[in-house]
């Protein structure tokens, strides 16, 4: 077990809390930087996809895990980012600017959804965002001059300063660079007043209000920031797909994103990455399973969404804190080795709650 002697408030503010973390994250950084030398193109592509999902996951985590607002419509923001990026790139705008604008446009759309849905929580909000995603899907399908409609459109190559970054190793580094940037921004937000106020709203709206937090404003910001990150992910996703069509951004994609943050572990940025790895590996796993299982089961048409749903439900019942929560428990088991008791993490009922005032 590690005990940290704190001598300055900076130590609580810094991203890395101690040298152990610096070492391990440094090692991880080194690994992902040299990864292209060792792994082949297919797996490199999958790893890029992990980063892309992680960026979207960072956005969704801020909304679901930290602000406590559930969105079932994040595929729409992914789509807005992807189409906006394709459009800007097609107009010949520089790559960084295009990605940034895709994020900002998506953030604006997020604020637009956030504002009217402020009074909703839980299932009602989920339905409202679902409806929004459906509207966006329809707009994409019918706004042919810009989106190419059902026929879809080819995504122009991402050329930056003469380099083609849209596939292979350069694309991998582009994704890596953007995901690190997004992660830092999210961590910065979470250690600042706005991030704290988001968490406050999740835990108790009534007392957040009494502490001077403007619920409407903070929720709108949360929606906008979340949509912004997802839009940036969408921009990279466009290159990953290579060809944009409305069927890439359906409800299944939204559920996949939600699955990612829940399975990874709500309320932690570690969880985003565990979740991203999980949802990239899962379809591969299902594909392998389809071949080995008897045809009657293996070729069932709804197998994939069915499994997604099943896993989501199982996690909610048995490990609501996700993979990261499980990891923390394992770590604690070894930290306190002979003293760990079965009841340590038993979920307790809370009896005390002020009347909810609504």
């Amino acid at each position: 077990m590690r005990f940290i002697l704190k001598t300055h408030y900076q130590q609580d503010i810094d991203v890395f809390k101690h040298n152990g973390q610096r070492f391990w994250f440094g090692l991880l950084a080194l690994l992902v930087i040299v990864a292209p030398l060792f792994i082949d193109t297919f797996y490199l592509g999958e790893l890029s996809l992990v980063y892309i999902y992680a960026i979207a996951g960072i956005g969704l985590m801020l909304l679901v895990g930290h602000t406590g607002l559930v969105s079932l419509g994040h595929a729409a923001f992914l789509a807005i980012g992807a189409y906006a990026h394709a459009w800007f790139i097609g107009k010949g705008w520089p790559l960084p600017l295009s990605i940034l604008l895709a994020g900002l446009l998506s953030a604006a759309a997020g604020a637009m959804v956030g504002r009217p849905t402020l009074r909703m929580t839980g299932i009602y909000l989920a339905i409202a965002t679902l409806a929004f995603a459906h509207i966006v899907e329809q707009i994409i399908a019918h706004w042919e001059p810009v989106t190419g409609g059902f026929r879809g459109q080819l995504v122009p190559d991402a050329v930056f300063m003469g380099f083609d970054l849209s596939r292979g190793i350069p694309f991998y580094y582009l994704c890596l660079f953007v995901v690190v940037l997004c992660l830092l921004a999210a961590l910065n937000l979470l250690r600042s007043p706005t991030g704290r106020s988001m968490v406050a709203i999740r835990d108790s709206e009534i007392s957040a209000q009494s502490m001077g937090i403007d619920l409407a404003r903070t929720k709108t910001i949360a929606f906008a920031v979340s949509a912004g990150f997802t839009g940036v992910a969408g921009a990279l996703f466009a290159h990953k797909l290579g060809y944009l069509a409305p069927d890439a951004f359906t409800m299944l994609t939204s559920i996949q994103l939600l699955l990612m943050v829940v399975v990874g572990g709500l309320g932690s940025m570690h969880g985003v990455f565990y979740g991203a790895i999980f949802i990239v590996v899962l379809p591969q796993f299902i594909a392998i399973m389809r071949d080995t299982l008897p045809t009657a089961i293996g070729q069932l048409p709804g197998l994939e969404p069915g499994l997604f749903g099943l896993i989501l439900v199982l996690f909610l019942i048995f490990e609501p804190l996700g993979i990261y929560g499980r990891w923390l428990k394992v770590k604690q088991f070894f930290d306190e080795f002979p003293l760990y008791r079965k009841a340590t993490h038993k979920r307790q009922k809370s009896y005390l709650r002020t009347e909810r005032l609504r």
């Binding site: 910065n188 406050a200 309320g267």
Partner: protein, 253 residues
Amino acid sequence: MSALLSAKNLSLSFGGVHAVRDISFDVEQGEVFSIIGPNGAGKTSIFNLISRLYNADSGDIVFAGESIISQPAHRIASLGIARTFQNTELFEHETVLNNMLIGRHVHRCSNLFSELLFLHSVRKQELEFRRIVEDVIDLLDLQSHRNQVIGSLPYGVRKMVEVARALCIQPKLLLLDEPSSGLNPEETEDVSFWIEDISRDYGATIIMVEHDMNLVSRSSDRVLAIADGAFVALGTPSEIQNHPDVQRAYLGD
């Protein structure tokens, strides 16, 4: 000297239930003012009216010369009114430190973009917040709980964390809703010392809803007694304790 807070003819009803009926009182700068009454008398409703969680049917609340009756709930804290809740409303999954830092929210000057980049100004602001929070931690002896998550704390400590969080706002007026409920006699005695400290060190005016008459008579300058939402008596603790109407409200005829 004019009153820091004055409530004028406040009324509030939920359907047919009159929770508060035509209540008026003035709270002077620097005093400790208690509101007592039997269960369901409308004490907490008065608090919720002042912190604008409820809309009054009629009447007015004037704080530091300004009517707050039509301010939104989230503006109240920045005017300098902080409160605690009867059964604690803390941010369960956060540490004591983060709960208290929320108290500094109204004093922030950073915006979203500087926070995303965590500019130097944001870091400086965080350090400044931290210094103020640590002062409060020292005052209320919360050092050992600083990095603990609220969910793992005993009830008595949670109540103190809530007071601490309210103090981090550096309020002019502090509303304490039953600070001693659920505490043992020893902890209740501590509360009376803390109330003294808070009103002395922070110069905060305190309005307190409380059932424990020992605590009330030890700490408060004046006491307002209400029953069934209506005014019963107002005076010093000993006056109130011996007031025939108050005794009737508690014990019946």
